[in-house]
């Protein structure tokens, strides 16, 4: 009861605060328009390119669709009684982070740098983030276009984690966790790697579309979460089969589709060939990884599975992400092949060995795939593809591997430690896990009062 009141108040505050701010802002006298409005009032500079803007806006829409895609990918893999609860995790994260990002997330991640560690609060509530380009980030599109493109990355990252604690997490705690994790883990790592002045950015480590920022941060946090929340009731003894694999395949397909925006959109421009190159290697790595995964299964278990094909595709998408703006098509085949085989092994050999219940393999796919991709970027990157990048080991520059390694390590440690503490604290205060009885009944009925399917 007490906890409920706390939760309720937190949620209330989450809404009321901005409301007050806005109300004031909105009522600012016309003669002295609010900061946001002022910024937007300035005549749009001529530098905006219509093709680049069209591309980035479309890419934003594509990346937005990935999170519902993930909802289906994950939702199909759980039991019927948890279908809605699992889908809800991803779906509501789109809402939660969209608001968090506008209010303070973007400012923390990309705002004026404070010591290489975090962005400042100058851009709270998007103040100063207008429609003219911000050449620091993207010279030919409105600043807000960059902001909202980045928003979709901030959205999907915590959603990836939810695979680790599927089928047993308390919804209210999940809600609070998401806001805190985005603020304390995602926003800082994002700043380190992509923010102007971020320390990993300055170091010269490469991460085109989010190998460290998105996949390692979420995958490693997922591992922490799986360890802390513990196994599902019946794990390894009962049959816990996916309730709707066509849904999972549809989710994987939407992820693949949306990922073109994720990776090729990260060129932040349509011209110049970089978006095209990223598009091509993304598709090639994904295809190869899907084949590699089912091939590994075929050899090891005698049958290629459909869930394997879908999982392999996602593993390939993950692994090519950091490399997508720096490598050519042949390298992407190698990266994809590695992703398929490594993630398959992580998921089907190592996980059972170690015995933790990363229910939908958020760590096995995103942690492992993201790490492989970040390292592989250090191997295969070439300035022939992207002159703003760097050469990797196989192009004569072993130093890049070192930098990639530092970036990977820093992300691993930071994500693991902060997530671990965060979840422990939440466990003591709000409780992470639903009761055993509720777990038997399922998330849908106990957390949401709904059934996924009726007649």
């Amino acid at each position: 009861m007490f906890k409920k009141i706390i939760t309720a108040s937190m949620l209330l505050a989450y809404f009321i605060m901005p409301m007050v701010v806005m109300a004031e802002e909105a009522q600012a006298p016309v003669g002295q328009p609010a900061v946001v409005a002022a910024a937007q009032a300035a005549p749009a500079p001529p530098k905006i390119d219509t093709g680049d803007t069209a591309w980035v806006l479309v890419s934003t829409a594509l990346v937005m669709l990935m999170t519902p895609g993930l909802a289906l990918f994950y939702g199909g893999m759980v039991r019927r009684k948890n279908a809605l609860g699992t889908i809800m995790h991803s779906f509501i994260i789109v809402a939660i982070i969209s608001v968090q990002w506008v209010l303070w997330g973007y400012s923390l991640a990309f705002g004026p740098d404070k010591g290489g560690i975090i962005g400042g609060l100058e851009w709270l509530g998007l103040s100063g983030v207008g429609l003219e380009p911000n050449p620091d980030y993207a010279a030919t599109i409105p600043h807000q276009a960059f902001m909202i493109f980045q928003m979709m990355f901030a959205v999907i990252t915590p959603a990836l984690i939810t695979g680790a604690f599927a089928e047993r997490m308390k919804f209210s705690t999940f809600f609070v966790f998401t806001i805190l994790w985005a603020t304390l883990v995602y926003d800082p790592i994002c700043h380190w790697v992509w923010g102007i002045g971020g320390w990993i950015h300055n170091l010269g480590a490469l991460d085109f579309a989010g190998g460290t920022v998105v996949h390692i941060s979420s995958g490693v946090s997922a591992l922490a979460a799986a360890l802390i929340i513990g196994k599902r009731k019946g794990y390894m003894t009962d049959i816990i089969a996916p309730h709707n694999l066509p849904m999972t395949v549809l989710g994987a397909a939407l992820l693949w589709f949306g990922w073109f925006g994720f990776n090729a959109g990260s060129a932040l421009a349509a011209g110049g060939g970089l978006a095209t190159s990223a598009f091509v290697v993304t598709n090639t790595a994904t295809a190869t990884a899907a084949l590699a995964w089912i091939f590994a299964e075929w050899v090891q278990r005698g049958k290629p599975t459909v869930l394997g094909a879908a999982s392999g595709a996602v593993a390939g998408l993950v692994a090519i992400t950091p490399a997508s703006g720096f490598v050519g098509p042949m390298a992407s085949i190698v990266i994809g092949f590695g992703a398929g085989v490594l993630c398959y092994m992580a998921v089907s050999l190592i996980k059972p060995l170690l015995g933790y219940d990363d229910s939908l393999d958020a760590f096995g796919v995103h942690g492992v795939g993201g790490t492989w991709g970040a390292i592989a970027t250090g191997l295969f990157a070439t300035t022939a593809i992207n002159s703003a990048g760097a050469n990797g080991l196989f192009f004569g520059n072993p130093a890049l591997v070192g930098k990639q390694f530092i970036a990977v390590l820093a992300s691993w440690i930071y994500a693991f430690v902060v997530t671990f503490i965060l979840l422990k604290v939440l466990d003591w205060t709000m409780g992470l896990r639903i009761s055993e009885e509720d777990e038997v009944m399922g998330l849908d009925l106990t957390q949401h009062g709904e059934s996924g399917y009726s007649s």
Binding site: A241, R301, K303, Y344, S348, D361
Partner: protein
């Protein structure tokens, strides 16, 4: 009256229905069930985890009929449902004391 309950392989349902119609049994009730028995199940694979599923899909047919028809019904079902392979299923016969047709309130044989 007797109730004849048969657990059969799902793809045999149509043949059994026809066999029953041939002996003028024109009412039956069918339920999807899962059976466990001598017949081995199958294995399912999900991300390398292997599950052995030993409940197999079966269909249960229930026919209530008069005493004198019971044997005929059993025979008809047995012949139609038989493949000769393990898992063909069982037929159980049990007593029914009363039957009512809801629409008319008729009882006994007339209700069938």
């Amino acid at each position: 009256m007797k109730k004849i309950e048969a657990i059969i392989k799902p793809f045999k349902l149509d043949e059994v229905k026809k066999a029953l119609n041939d002996i003028h049994i024109e009412g039956m009730t069918v339920t999807e069930v899962k059976g466990f028995g001598r017949q081995k199940g199958h294995t399912e694979l999900y991300r390398g985890a292997e599950y052995s599923v030993d409940f197999l899909p079966k269909v249960k047919i229930e026919v209530v009929t008069s005493e004198d028809m019971a044997a005929k019904v059993v025979d008809a079902i047995q012949n139609a449902a038989k493949t000769g392979k393990i898992g063909d299923g069982k037929i159980f016969v049990s007593p029914v004391e009363e039957t009512v047709r809801i629409r008319t309130g008729e009882k006994g044989k007339d209700a069938l």
